[in-house]
């Protein structure tokens, strides 16, 4: 009956306006947050297969070296000097295959592709894979391989797209075995290769060191190992001393990590701006709602006062308005979550192809943030309404 009395003067257009405006604001805020939570982990994903705190060093390639054919490989003396530096924990050499490797894949006996593969290896201590997965034994003839993630991207966007071939994901590639054909020193051998993982940070096709040592011994016994790239682990990646050392010796570090950081930074900035806009829209819509409620309370002020005078508590009188705002806020949240879910399902398809991975993230961040906003806004609404009613109690509102 109280509701019957108080619902008079409710302006439907005002509330529709609020719902619409708040929906836009809320959807933008939640979407920005959700997108951030979906994409940033993919960008900054640590390679699960490699120790995380490593740097890859190589010598700078300049025009002079290209002409003079001066060796780009590190000499044992240089490696020792590097290892002696205080900022270096461990040094590992990339060992390249000194023999010829062809990889081919067959489906139904038909050769699908055949390519030469530049295999490399690093000491096992730099590889963070279960020992069983990252080992090679002559019996099994199965060689585990870690591929650069960019290979999949290259295939998916540079190749599959143009030729209308199906796109592949990491999971799919890992299921395919292919044949490795090794030749050198007058010998030949056939092995099975299996991709066990992808690396976003190493531009090398890695095989276990034990396999590489065995194969080099067998197919190129005379070759001298001449590492052109070194891998070091260091506690202090951005330190002054390490940069100085690299500068002095004409080495360079592959700064993939720096790139990721830049990308993440810009993404973060962009999303912050977008979320801020959404927040402003939400705030404005919140303002609309408060104005509508104020107006409504004002128009009903005499009735509210009468109810208070015949013994209704301020909380009882405030409740219909509070329920109204809670209802509206809940409706907006639900609609916003539907919008987020729709948009997300769309962009996740692109993102998953782009990063060639399936995401384990969920809609949870948006839901949690939405609930948080709902609680904050609703509490604020309730407090404001309550305050307004109490003012009426004290006869401070004109009737």
């Amino acid at each position: 009956m109280v509701w019957k009395l108080l619902r008079k003067h409710i302006s439907v257009p005002q509330f529709v306006g609020f719902v619409f405006a708040n929906l836009i604001g809320m959807a933008i805020v939640l979407l920005g947050f959700q997108f951030y939570r979906d994409v940033v982990p993919m960008l900054t994903a640590e390679d699960g297969f490699l120790k995380s705190d490593f740097v890859v060093l190589s010598k700078k390639v300049g025009t002079a070296q290209a002409i003079s054919q001066r060796s780009l490989s590190f000499t044992p003396a240089e490696i020792e000097t590097l290892a002696a530096q205080p900022f270096v924990d461990k040094v590992g050499q990339f060992m390249a295959a000194e023999f010829k490797v062809d990889a081919s894949m067959r489906i139904d006996g038909k050769q699908v592709f055949n390519t030469e593969l530049p295999l490399e290896s690093v000491p096992d201590e730099f590889v963070d894979v279960l020992k069983d997965d990252w080992s090679f034994s002559e019996d099994s003839a199965l060689v585990p391989i870690i591929l650069p993630r960019s290979y999949i991207t290259m295939y998916n966007f540079g190749f599959a797209q143009n030729r209308s071939l199906p796109k592949v994901s990491e999971g799919l590639v890992s299921l395919i075995d292919f044949d490795l054909h090794l030749r050198g020193n007058g010998q030949e051998a056939q092995y099975k290769g299996r991709v066990i993982g992808f690396s976003g940070r190493l531009n090398a096709i890695l095989v276990p060191q034990s396999f590489m040592a065995m194969a080099n011994q067998r197919f190129a016994p005379d070759a001298e190992p001449s590492p052109t790239r070194l891998m070091i682990t260091t506690a202090d990646l951005s330190g002054e001393s390490i940069n100085q050392f690299l500068e002095d010796n004409g080495y360079e570090a592959e700064d993939d990590r720096l790139n990721t950081e830049k990308t993440t930074f810009f993404l973060r900035m962009m999303i912050t701006v977008v979320m801020a806009i959404g927040l402003v829209i939400s705030l404005l819509s919140f303002y609309i709602l408060m104005l509508s409620i104020y107006l409504l309370v004002q128009k009903n002020a005499d009735k509210l006062q009468n109810l208070l005078l015949i013994g209704y508590r301020p909380s009882q009188v405030a409740r219909p308005y509070q329920l109204l705002t809670i209802g509206l806020n809940v409706v907006v949240l639900l609609l916003a979550l539907v919008v987020v879910a729709l948009v997300r399902s769309h962009y996740m398809r692109i993102v998953e192809v782009l990063f060639a991975t399936t995401s384990r993230s969920s809609l949870l961040p948006a839901i949690l943030l939405g609930l948080l906003l709902l609680v904050v806004v609703t509490l604020l609404n309730m407090a404001v309404i309550r305050r307004k009613i109490v003012r009426i109690w004290h006869g401070k509102e004109r009737m």
Binding site: K4, L5, N306, L307, L309
Partner: protein, 214 residues
């Protein structure tokens, strides 16, 4: 609640009035449960102001208003609500009914709060005051005299120690006025409550214990 005591109460609007001859303002007056008071006043002497002090709607006065010995200015919102529901029933001069509700609903909006009267009781009151046929009619469509009767029924739909009626029969003929007076008397006696009636001339004929000139 047993007593309402005014101790040198003076509305702020009269603060500078020098020629105030009132038996209420600036006096010691105690209203006791179970007795009947008539407060007569000329226009502009603060009749409605007096009532609004008693139900906590206004407190712009000097002096002390004591409800059962407690200063009215110290009562909380919750205590005032309780007081309005259980102890002081107020029949407003301006009635404060809800014109968009029927007269029955106007009574029920209060009775649901207190759970005090049965439907049969309320029916009986409508009957006695001669507006039984107006139960479903919107109050906004009724005459002021009819509305005064609805307001009385609403005022009776709660327990009370004091029934405060601000010019309750200003728009009623003598027959209907006496009917209302009778009903007020009966209900007040049943609860052992006091009646405080204000008037600027025409007043309900009751066996008053005390006449006060405001």
């Amino acid at each position: 609640m047993n007593t309402i005591k005014l101790s040198h109460v003076l509305p702020q609007v009269f603060a500078h009035a020098s020629d105030l001859h009132s038996q209420v303002w600036q006096q010691e007056v105690t209203f006791e449960k179970g007795r009947k008071y008539l407060i007569e006043a000329d226009s502009g002497m603060g009749k409605s102001t007096f009532c609004s002090y008693l139900i906590g709607y206004r407190n712009d006065y000097s002096g002390e208003l004591l409800m059962d010995g407690r200063s009215a200015k110290q009562l909380t919102v919750r205590e005032w609500t309780e007081l309005r529901r259980r102890h002081i029933s107020y029949l407003f001069q301006e009635l404060r009914l809800f014109p968009e509700l029927s007269s029955w609903e106007n009574v029920q909006i209060k009775n649901r709060l207190t759970g005090f009267a049965t439907d049969a009781q309320i029916d009986g009151w409508f009957e006695r005051l001669g507006i039984a046929d107006k139960k479903e009619e919107k109050v906004g469509m009724m005459s002021f005299g009819q509305q005064q009767r609805v307001a009385l029924i609403r005022a009776l739909s709660q327990p009370f120690d004091f029934l405060l009626a601000d010019e309750p029969i200003s728009h009623l003929d003598d027959v209907n006025g006496n009917q209302m007076g009778q009903l007020m008397m009966e209900e007040a006696d049943r609860q052992g409550a006091a009646i405080i009636i204000t008037s600027i001339g025409k007043h309900v004929e009751l066996p008053y214990d005390r006449h006060l000139k405001l």
